[in-house]
Symmetry: C2
Subunit: 143 residues, 2 copies
């Protein structure tokens, strides 16, 4: 089972809570989850974990590269599995619907800008906020 292997190669002990969290991310419909999401979903499915442990595990997973953390507007961190392919996000302010994109032109410009300003680039975050056109989006259903 590759789940405990993931933990091993991250240098983390294979504990029940960690397996539960990893499991959840690998099986969940929604790929972007907050600590509260994870906690509630685990509790709901009968897996009891402590909220404190959820927070700890999420941070450890981020540190070891298993998860990526995002800080969207709204103050709470959101995590997703790190599939190794960087991407950015476009978020609907009405319904929260989220889409992913990657644009090599933008990535290239960022590198250039960092260099021009004498910065060694570590990371960047780009979020586009707008209104989506999904049928289910409440935005479309307001007069």
């Amino acid at each position: 089972m590759h789940k405990s292997k993931d933990l091993h190669q991250a240098g983390l002990k294979v504990t029940l809570p960690r397996l539960k969290v990893l499991n959840l991310f690998e099986s969940s419909e929604n790929h972007h989850l907050s600590a509260e999401d994870v906690f509630k979903m685990l509790i709901a499915s009968g897996e009891d974990v402590s909220l404190a442990t959820v927070y700890r595990v999420l941070s450890q997973f981020e540190l070891s590269g298993i998860l990526v953390r995002h800080n969207f507007e709204g103050g709470k961190s959101v995590f997703e599995l790190n599939h190794g392919e960087h991407h950015d996000h476009i978020v609907c302010l009405q319904c929260g619907h989220l889409e992913e994109f990657f644009d090599s032109a933008i990535e290239a410009r960022q590198k250039k800008i960092a260099a021009e300003h004498g910065f060694t680039i570590h990371d960047h975050s780009l979020y586009i906020y707008g209104d989506c056109t999904k049928e289910s989006c409440p935005h479309k259903h307001r007069e």
Copy 2:
């Protein structure tokens, strides 16, 4: 005095705390200030205001377009005067040094991406994080 005029045309009553905050932003060396920064700087200069009022005023100023709010990593909001010219930021993770930039290529790509995904773009935030090369940056002074 254009400061009270700014408040008037924003539809806000001209109160002492609001003038103090506006004043601070217009005279401060550092253009990017958190609520705590504003509060402490005002207190330090003998202007006594309530922290709650600082938060309220900052939010009102954001709403009326006098200030722009940024959500950098670290969880606290940072504000700057809205000079009408959108720009993004590159931040040093070591010393917090911050530089501004505007890149029309990136802006254009973002518009295109939003359109491709069927989004009406409202806003976006782009932060580049890295290490700067300022002499004063602690990064340079660690072995």
